[in-house]
Point group: C3
Chain length 339, copies 3
Amino acid sequence: MSLTLGELATQFGCEVAGDPAVRISGVATLAAADAGAISFFANSAYGDALAATKASAVILKDSDLDKCPVNALISENPYLTYARVADAIFPDPPPDAGVHASAHVSETARVARSAQIAANAVVDADCEIGEHVYIGPGVFVGPRCRVGDRSRLAANCTLVQDVTIGKRSIIHSGAVIGSDGFGNAMSDSGWVKVKQLGGVLIGDDVEIGANTTVDRAAIDNTIIGNGVRLDNLIQIGHNAVVGEHTAMVTMTAIGGSAIVGKRCMFAGRTGCVGHITICDDVIVSATSWISKDIKEPGVYTASFPAEKDKSWKRKAARIRRIEDIVDRIKKLEKSSDDT
Amino acid sequence: MSLTLGELATQFGCEVAGDPAVRISGVATLAAADAGAISFFANSAYGDALAATKASAVILKDSDLDKCPVNALISENPYLTYARVADAIFPDPPPDAGVHASAHVSETARVARSAQIAANAVVDADCEIGEHVYIGPGVFVGPRCRVGDRSRLAANCTLVQDVTIGKRSIIHSGAVIGSDGFGNAMSDSGWVKVKQLGGVLIGDDVEIGANTTVDRAAIDNTIIGNGVRLDNLIQIGHNAVVGEHTAMVTMTAIGGSAIVGKRCMFAGRTGCVGHITICDDVIVSATSWISKDIKEPGVYTASFPAEKDKSWKRKAARIRRIEDIVDRIKKLEKSSDDT
Amino acid sequence: MSLTLGELATQFGCEVAGDPAVRISGVATLAAADAGAISFFANSAYGDALAATKASAVILKDSDLDKCPVNALISENPYLTYARVADAIFPDPPPDAGVHASAHVSETARVARSAQIAANAVVDADCEIGEHVYIGPGVFVGPRCRVGDRSRLAANCTLVQDVTIGKRSIIHSGAVIGSDGFGNAMSDSGWVKVKQLGGVLIGDDVEIGANTTVDRAAIDNTIIGNGVRLDNLIQIGHNAVVGEHTAMVTMTAIGGSAIVGKRCMFAGRTGCVGHITICDDVIVSATSWISKDIKEPGVYTASFPAEKDKSWKRKAARIRRIEDIVDRIKKLEKSSDDT
């Protein structure tokens, strides 16, 4: 879709510096942009790219306006405005309503007329599929699932059973929602499976990444709050609760029955053990692992960045002899006391 | 299914405290239970919930009986008894025998009459599918696979080829079994693929989690022993051997040709390098990594739990200067000797 | 296929020690080999197996010839020669050209006559599928994808959209290529999705493992260079660039917009944050994490191998009191100065 800079400014509450009549029909990086494209400037590292850009307009802060050689859309939060502008220029096409001839929909499922069920998708017994829902090719929607209006299930994802998804949520390809939690009791003859009987509740405006897994609860529900963002290859254990607007980057693992607060941010390869509670507004640094309750908002960390192998190995060898170091200090202290 | 407390006691060798005629038709947590539900008490943290429960009965140890306000099923191992009771009340339905019209079964495959092949599943050449096996929608069973009696392959999992699965095993959605191992030889012009020619042998009563991957061997077989439990998003490299009744929590990675003993427990995000041997009864703590043979049973660890970022960073900076610390001690020792 | 040792020697530029007329029709480990099988010796740990082997021939270095009890194929690089020999004996069968009756191919897709589209696969609008391409059962090839000659997409993998794959590349089962990158801007009412509008460019001779995810770019392309090897369960973030012939072992995570050089090797469970640059020929040790630019080739590490839990915990407790240690040294230094 093509919009003028003035129309974008009005729609998103920004000011224009330059020509409000210029037409915007695409987005691009500062470096690659040419006529018709809008770009954004939010990171001072790209100052040279801004100075040289051929974009038709750039979204930026008022304080950066003097560095901008072209038209500008002035915003307090250029990245957020960019997100809204990109969405306006490239709106999602509505689903192509109807059930593909090769899809299988149970007689007991209720599918809204405006929903699309694509090739080879399967919608099982007692499901409810809302208005304008998109269910992609090869998706399996197991028994008793409910998918709210305008949600989208990308190709080859799986809702195993008893999964409820709110409105406008997106489940990406390969994600598995509602698979059995990891419940095992040891007996004399080996592990006995603890039946997983609960479901998964996913709120509105949630996004769940490719090949991420969210297990069904043992009893009751695993819960993903409104507005949560899960990247690819994340694991959410059974009966865990992830609070609203919390975001987790790839390879985060949340243990069973853990309760994670609202607006938390888990960087890549983080996670927590099961059965703990993490309060709202906690940030976990990349690769760090939470092993007990957190009751105070803030940033939590435990990791060493990689360095040259030789230098690390020398240090690590000394660190592993820390007890020797402490013993030597004790000895020195004793001898100093004696003196 | 509905059973009396007395019937459950007889079936699982427990004693009843209270009314053996009370009917149990569901399971619930202590807090959520009401009439008809049985719950269990195995963690003293839930003492208040026990005192307030409205369950028809609670499975617990004899020593906790005095705290129980309702009927009780007395067991040495309440969690194990709960697992068995839940299975008795909610038995798995038998598969709906037959091949769905949209499934594709090779002419050279042998499928037991009691097995179910669901919509859009594909069973390739020379496969053998046993009695009461369930093969879910979208599953691909590649050439030369054998699936033993009563095993279940959940929707959208994949057996690539040459995979043999024993009896009563479960493969969850998105799991990929029998994909090529990671074998590459460097040449002057880049990596040359080392052909993966082996298979995967999976024992009886195994459970493999959603989106977990178990690679086919380069030669011979990758082996998963009887009773093994693998959680979601785990990787088992080519030619690895996982001993009977070993359990691994999410994001464990087992390197190629590693041999892991029986009854081991790998907590979340653990793993080991390839070509090592880990003896029976080893426990690996969360996020710890094994880099050489383990010959003695026990718990193995190397990790720091996350703490407040500022406090960690201060420590980490000092730890990285460990060599300076050692130098200063040496100097002090020298000066002390001189004194 | 069956070849003589002499034919193999000629084909791969090796010398024969022994009988060049012996026929080779299989491969095996030194221990399991019998008549007709060729094996290789590249790791001195297997010296006993070499001495006892019943293989018809062994690929090895000239310097190991005296330890070999059977015919030998002499090579500078036995593992590489093994890779080529195995490929010669077990050549990939060509795809079974044609579109399966249950596959769905868009009218606007162009599919080469020699390509195979297997059962239940879907090839969407404006795709181009090259000569001798194999597209396995249940694969989804989304709009505007291009798959180069002789590439193979294994069962149940997904190309979401705008993915271009070169020649002779392999995408394994469950891999998801071209799913949305993780882009979110915070607003007063929660996260706003940053539309992902770019694609993925994958070179020639690339291999991408089972359940690995490679995200589409926000703008422009995520790029995987020629000859790259990605193991299972890896994540490549949006707009990342992975240089030619770089290899990554399982559970590596590459952050968005990171640029990784050529011929790098990432061991298991490694990775890097986004927006950094790693030069060519960098090796990252298992479980180590890169958090800033690397400008010098070499090995980079930061990890502690697991040890007995008690011993680790004692050390870790002392390490966490490192500030106390430094304080005590300072005091000693002061007192020493005073003396």
